[in-house]
């Protein structure tokens, strides 16, 4: 209808169009509603029009950032994936989205950002590798702090620390939530009939990272793998609506099967190691020569002198 809108989101990885929950939700909704969006996949949130990702930029009405606001804006432009829903289904949508936000999202935040091993080995590494210099030193820690703060405020406990007890409580809620979603979905293709709606976008946005992103401590992933219909649901959406992303996945899966992420880094690691050793040796030698610890010319002269002395001795002897 109007001029094309632009959507800024986090880049994708692990077979997903984006690694961030909100970005996935918005991307999925846009595909379901058939909205023609120009998608910018970036890794620098400071380049987005609102400073955070995802962000929708429209010509007339400025920029919006939260998924709910973005979806409302798309609806205003007549891209509505919920057109066919009955009033009761619309009510169910609101209810299940609330369920996702209250029960599943805290566990997701915990597993990606607060759990120490996951954060250091997977999340921080991904963001540090992908955000451009020099923000990659600044942003991951800031995001970590913000997510921890959010978890503390949502739970109402200012002294919250990551720990086994908190983890068990959050995961229990999340596992129950996933089981409830699985029961509600049953054997249908989407939550409300044969065509996807905004609830499917929200569920996909929250479940796909759990399913696809590999973390060292992945209890949530184990549980979702046991819920066959939810796994089918996510893979279905990936194959139908994001075929370019899911096609990448099989080729990537073949190589790092044995050793995970390290294998990709190894060739570079070896080369970097050799280069750095050579550089260090060269620097040491250069310093030694320049400061006089090793003198090449003098040893060459010493070698000649005994030779001349020997000759003189020989001559003298004779």
């Amino acid at each position: 209808m109007a001029a094309p809108m632009e959507l800024y989101c986090w880049r994708g990885d692990h077979g997903l169009p984006s690694v961030d929950v909100d970005c996935l939700t918005v991307l999925a909704y846009a595909k379901f509603a058939g909205a023609p969006l120009k998608v910018h996949k970036i890794t620098n949130p400071w380049r987005s029009p609102t400073g955070i990702l995802p962000a929708l930029k429209t010509r007339e009405e400025g920029s919006f950032s939260q998924p709910s606001k973005i979806i409302i804006q798309l609806r205003k432009q007549k891209y509505n994936a919920d057109y066919d829903l009955s009033a009761k289904e619309g009510a169910d949508t609101l209810a299940f989205v609330s369920l996702l936000e209250e029960k599943l999202l805290p566990a997701l935040i915990y597993t990606q950002w607060v759990d120490a091993k996951n954060y250091v080995d997977a999340t921080r590494r991904w963001y540090a590798e992908n955000i451009p210099f020099p923000l990659n030193f600044l942003l991951p820690n800031r995001m970590h702090g913000r997510q921890l703060e959010r978890l503390r405020l949502v739970r109402g406990d200012p002294a919250l620390e990551p720990g086994e007890q908190l983890e068990k409580e959050l995961y229990q809620d999340a596992l129950e939530c996933m089981t409830l979603l699985s029961q509600r979905l049953g054997s249908h293709k989407f939550f409300f009939g044969d065509s996807p709606s905004s609830l499917d976008a929200y569920v996909f946005g929250h479940l796909a990272p759990i399913l696809k992103i590999k973390l060292p401590n992945n209890k949530l992933q184990q549980h979702i793998n046991s819920l066959e219909n939810l796994r089918q649901f996510c893979n279905n959406i990936l194959v139908l609506y994001f075929p370019s992303e899911s096609r990448e996945l099989p080729t990537r899966k073949v190589s790092p099967q044995a050793e995970g992420g390290d294998f990709d880094n190894e060739p570079h690691k070896r080369r970097n190691q050799i280069l750095s050793v050579l550089f260090a040796v060269g620097a040491m030698l250069g310093y030694a020569v320049l400061s006089g610890i090793i003198t090449i010319k003098h040893t060459h002269a010493q070698l000649e002198e005994p030779h001349i002395e020997e000759e003189e001795d020989e001559e003298e002897e004779e």
Binding site: A91, D92, L99, E101, E102, K103, E149, Q165, R184
Partner: protein, 275 residues
């Protein structure tokens, strides 16, 4: 409560029947309690009445600090203390009283989802209106919240609570909303509840469940509380089936059991009334 402690408590709970002297603690009714706490407390009272479990209501100024999780209301049963509706429902379930046993899996999923809808939208909207709206906050919330304490503690506690709630709103993305948008959200939430209720007497047809108790607690409190503007209660009044739902529960569970001389209309204030 940690999981191990929860399991232990459930086991102990299952061992004893419901005692006669179970008590529910909430902040002072006349002068201290705020809209959101009153709603939560009424929801728990309604739930216990629906289960036919007797409980005495005791008002204390420091109820919030006595509570194990920092939130009111909490119940003291035997030698256990449980706070908030969710854990209380599980606790009564361990004792063998449950309202949602007759539901199948899909219905239970829907019930939990709608309960989260009320917590996510209605409760958050109540908190927003109480603490993030400057008029309400200065005229009603801060004076009431700090009324039992003397100067300077009352100022400190009131501002501390306000700051905490505002930070929470910031973290969940509600800080950028205007009051109009919040009223709009409440309206949407009520519309969803109204749609789900339809023409049935309760949300899951014949028998009330914890969802009915929760919805009743919030809606009734909003309807009977006077705030700086009537817009919030007007939003609810526009859905007639929600009004009759509240009236029905009030008549069935509160008036019959109390035998108080109250009229059937839910517009007259019953119990807590905030001025």
């Amino acid at each position: 409560m940690s999981l191990a402690a929860e399991a232990f408590v459930s086991q102990m709970a299952a061992a004893e029947p419901w005692p006669e002297n179970a008590t529910l603690y909430q902040p002072l009714r006349e002068h201290q309690i705020l809209l959101s706490d009153c709603a939560s407390s009424l929801a728990v009272q309604a739930y216990l009445r629906m289960c036919n479990l007797p409980v005495r209501v005791s008002c204390r100024a420091n109820a919030e600090y006595m509570s194990p999780s920092g939130k009111v209301p909490f119940i003291h049963v035997g030698n256990q203390v449980v706070s908030e509706l969710g854990p209380i429902v599980q606790f009564t379930k361990a004792k063998g009283h449950s309202l949602s046993d007759g539901l199948d899996d899909v219905q239970r999923a829907e019930m939990k989802a709608y309960m989260e809808l009320v917590n996510n939208m209605l409760l958050t909207a109540e908190l927003y209106i109480q603490w993030c709206d400057d008029t309400t906050s200065s005229e009603i919330s801060r004076p009431r919240y700090s009324s039992p304490y003397s100067w300077p503690l009352n100022h400190i506690l009131a501002y501390q609570k306000q700051w905490e709630v505002r930070r929470k709103m910031n973290a969940i993305g509600w800080a950028g909303k205007s009051l109009e948008q919040v009223y709009e959200d409440v309206s949407q939430c009520c519309q969803a509840l109204s749609q789900r209720l339809g023409t049935q007497p309760y949300f899951f047809n014949k028998q009330p469940t914890e969802l009915d108790a929760l919805v009743f607690g919030h809606l009734f409190t909003i309807l009977t509380t006077r705030l700086t503007s009537d817009e919030l209660s007007e939003k609810i009044k526009s859905y007639s089936n929600l009004l009759s739902f509240c009236r029905r529960i009030e008549q069935t569970y509160f008036e019959e059991q109390d035998r108080d001389s109250q009229s059937g209309a839910s517009h007259h204030s019953k119990g807590p009334s905030l001025i």
